[in-house]
């Protein structure tokens, strides 16, 4: 049975390469029962989104929009 440490390892690895069938099945079974790891999985996508926005200067643009939003 896959534990959370193993599930987060696979969720991280899935950012690099497609997982094998067995890995995907074990992961899906774990995620069905574990909200913490479901959240972790979403956060992996968010983390990539954040880092790529950072690379594109989103932190610089943020200052302006703060001013507009008040």
């Amino acid at each position: 049975m896959l534990n959370c440490q193993g599930a987060t390892r696979l969720l991280s690895q899935a950012q690099e390469q497609k997982l094998g069938l067995q890995e995907r099945m074990a992961l899906q079974m774990h995620l069905a029962m574990c909200s913490g790891c479901r959240n972790f999985g979403k956060q992996m996508h968010t983390l990539r989104q954040i880092t790529r926005a950072y690379a594109q200067g989103a932190d610089e643009r943020a200052d302006k929009k703060d001013g507009q939003a008040g």
Partner: protein, 213 residues
């Protein structure tokens, strides 16, 4: 070579002129950020300075074509990323791989014990919560300060492979080659970097109530 800041002369600081994009304060802050990033990537202040210098000079030559500072910054970082990627690809092994792996294995159990119980399940107070509105956070300068702090808190080697992969967007095999590690070593390091980063972001931003859930 010329100091790139010399591109700004006093007659060019009027706000209607494109060179207003490159006033001293903006340029200093951009340069600091580029240098921090390049140094983290290359572990060599001299190589980092060269890469920053080249990227900045290239951008300043074409400053007329940018509609704003954000566009200029995007472009400068794209050039810098390419320069760093070239240096990394050429360098093959930027660090001593065996020392990197040893350090990695030593911390591993400590890292995981703080997050997971002895059966490998989340410790109750470490279980990830849902992050509300991450897109909204990207527009807040406070968020970016937190993000930079969290990046700085990553152990140096983890930060480097994470940034090579996610910021410079090298493919996994390219990162492995640059650092001299195997794919499975890389996966271990990225896993740990992501565990730490997400924990830091949750503790300092998404789980604090600064960002309502």
């Amino acid at each position: 070579m010329n100091d790139p800041t010399a591109a700004r002369t006093d007659s060019e600081t009027r706000s209607d002129h494109p060179s207003a994009l490159v006033d001293r304060e903006f340029l200093d802050s951009l340069r600091r950020q580029m240098h921090k990033f390049a140094t983290l990537q290359l572990s060599d202040a001299h190589l980092a300075e060269d890469a920053v210098q080249e990227a900045l000079m290239g951008a300043l030559k074409n400053v007329q074509s940018f509609g704003g500072r954000a566009a200029l910054k995007t472009w400068v970082f794209a050039i810098l990323k390419n320069k760093i990627a070239d240096v990394l690809r050429g360098k093959q092994r930027v660090v001593n791989a065996s020392s990197l792996l040893r350090a990695d294995e030593e911390d591993e159990n400590e890292d995981f014990a703080a997050l997971f119980d002895n059966k490998g399940f989340w410790q109750v107070d470490e279980r990830p919560v849902a992050w509300a509105n991450p897109e909204e956070s990207l527009r807040q300068s406070d968020f970016w300060r937190v993000f930079e702090t969290c990046l700085e808190h990553l152990p140096g080697q983890q930060a480097r492979v994470f940034m090579m992969r996610e910021f410079i967007e090298l493919e996994s095999p390219e990162v492995c080659q640059a650092v001299g590690i195997t794919v499975s070593n890389l996966n271990v390091m990225l896993h740990r970097a992501r565990l730490r980063l997400r924990e830091c972001l949750e503790n300092r931003w998404f789980g604090t109530g600064a960002n309502p859930c």
